[in-house]
């Protein structure tokens, strides 16, 4: 297994016209760990995500991904779809992006597109219905069923994704991302809009994805209870730069972080911390 971090950002900068959304950001996410990216609204977190997952081409900088076997990808050079196909990075979206007119099962089948394309002999063998295609299709269905079960949506398999409740849609989106067989799972505010019970279930699910499936996770989250509970490391951003990095305990006590969140200066924040202590 490679000893390099699964994801390393080096001097990532993203400009939109005159606005610098992300400024020379460097951090890394460790293998089989949960790394949280936090920061106040507008700090540039989602921009970082969009750079990692190929929706934006960064203005400068390197995003390096290293698989377990040591294969490295410079993701800023990959085409958007290859980030999932080759580099094995899956993501979810802040505003859920399921295929609402397709069933939950179909959503998970689409996620296995590349494997199924190969199995269907680029459609030709599938059109003829050869047996090897049929077995491949069945195993894809089995995989989908596994994840549906895992997120507790097996009984909704044949319902349109657009008909599911909000919390169910969030979980289905995570299941869909997992169906691509990712090395790194990027989650953009997975707990947004969930109630306390659903948040707890989400924490449990993410911990299990990390431990049982060995998938590394990078998440953006505002729900601090979730972040503090499950993260191995936390990176804090404000105004496009990294202001702190460390374990949840380090971050909790960092005056800079509190200042960023409360909008006060550092000394005041330090005073707040002392008063609490």
């Amino acid at each position: 297994m490679s000893s390099a971090p699964i994801l390393a950002l080096e001097n990532l900068t993203m400009r939109f016209g005159g606005i610098v959304a992300v400024n020379a950001l460097s951090f890394s996410a460790q293998r089989k760990q949960i790394t949280a990216l936090i920061g106040p609204n507008g700090a540039g977190k989602t921009t970082v995500f969009n750079c990692i997952t190929g929706f934006y081409k960064p203005t400068s900088g390197v995003i390096r991904l290293t698989h377990d076997d040591g294969t490295q990808y410079e993701m800023q050079k990959l085409k958007d779809f290859n980030i999932s196909k080759q580099a094995k990075v899956a993501r979810t979206f802040q505003n859920i992006r399921l295929f609402p007119g397709m069933t939950a099962l179909e959503n998970l089948m689409v996620a296995q597109h590349n494997a199924l394309m190969r199995a269907s002999g680029l459609t030709l063998l599938g059109l003829l219905g050869v047996p090897s295609w049929r077995t491949a299709e069945q195993s894809a269905i089995d995989n989908a069923v596994f994840w549906l079960k895992r997120v507790g949506l097996l009984d909704r398999a044949d319902d349109a994704a657009g008909n599911l409740a909000y919390g169910d849609q969030r979980r289905l989106e995570i299941a869909r991302a997992m169906c691509t067989g990712p090395a790194l799972l990027c989650l953009d505010e997975p707990a947004a809009g969930l109630n306390a019970r659903e948040s707890a279930a989400l924490s449990e699910l993410l911990l299990s994805i990390r431990s049982d499936h060995g998938t590394s996770i990078l998440l953006i989250e505002h729900d601090m209870s979730v972040v503090m509970e499950i993260s191995d490391r936390i990176v804090v951003m404000d105004y496009g730069v990294k202001i702190a990095e460390g374990t949840p305990r380090d971050i909790r006590d960092d005056p800079k972080v509190i200042a960023a969140y409360l909008g006060t200066d550092e000394e005041e924040a330090a005073a707040v911390l002392e008063a609490e202590a």
Binding site: T46, N50, F55, F93
Partner: protein, 305 residues
Amino acid sequence: MDYFAQQLINGLVLGSIYGLIAIGYTMVYGIVGMINFAHGDVFMIGGFIALISFLVLVSVGLTAVPVILLIVLLVSMAITALYGWTIERIAYRPLRHSFRLAPMLSAIGMSFVLTNFSQVSQGARVKPVPPIVTGGYTLHEGESGFVVQLSNIQIVVVITTIVLLGLFTWLVSRTRLGRDMRACEQDQTMAALLGVDVDRTISMTFVIGAALAAVAGMMYLLYYGLVDFFMGFVAGIKAFTAAVLGGIGSLPGAMLGGLAIGLIETFWSAYFSVEYKDVAAFSILIVVLIFMPTGLLGRPEVEKV
């Protein structure tokens, strides 16, 4: 050089006509986000109404050309505007919040209705009119005997366009209606909450667009001396090209795009081949959309993830 200068004049005149039609496309697209496929046919109807009112006026004994032109202009603007209003009311308003394809097909259907309505009501044959505005100026006489001319009708077309454009710019930037229109363009829900009558504003957009198309139709009639029931289709596509070229949603852009298309078409016909002039116009549309989807003066569209 003389030949070039003459083509330049011809191209600018043709471009003015395209620009007037293009404004209708751009306004409607800006405010309701749909291509008004029937707009080219509204232009055609405008030409027909100008023709008929002209015939009637002449036959009742009016002889003063400026008076005739003014009345024809007002009549065709008024009646064509009514067409614009009716089309929106019948074919588009019921589908305003429907699926995207529905208004588009409804618009295509409306275009068929208008084309065939005028074929049925006025016959399929081309309608020629004798030159109404005659005369002109010789700008330059070349050694080879080629004469660069600026005809009075060309002056009329360009001046009418400029005056209307000025009027229209004032309307959009200075009046309450213009403000409402810009508000609806940004956010209809918010505009409605702030007391803008969205229905009325959209209706007025169609009315103004149709009135300008009527002017274009009348200018076309005066300039080419004929109208026919099928002229809306190709003119419509070219004007739409102009609107896109200028940057859809942008009013000066529509005029600029119109001039560009007029010039390109004229020069292509003059120097390359007349048969392929429409192919040239359509090719430009494709090239522009592929390489400059926001046009010359349009705002870039940012993809949100």
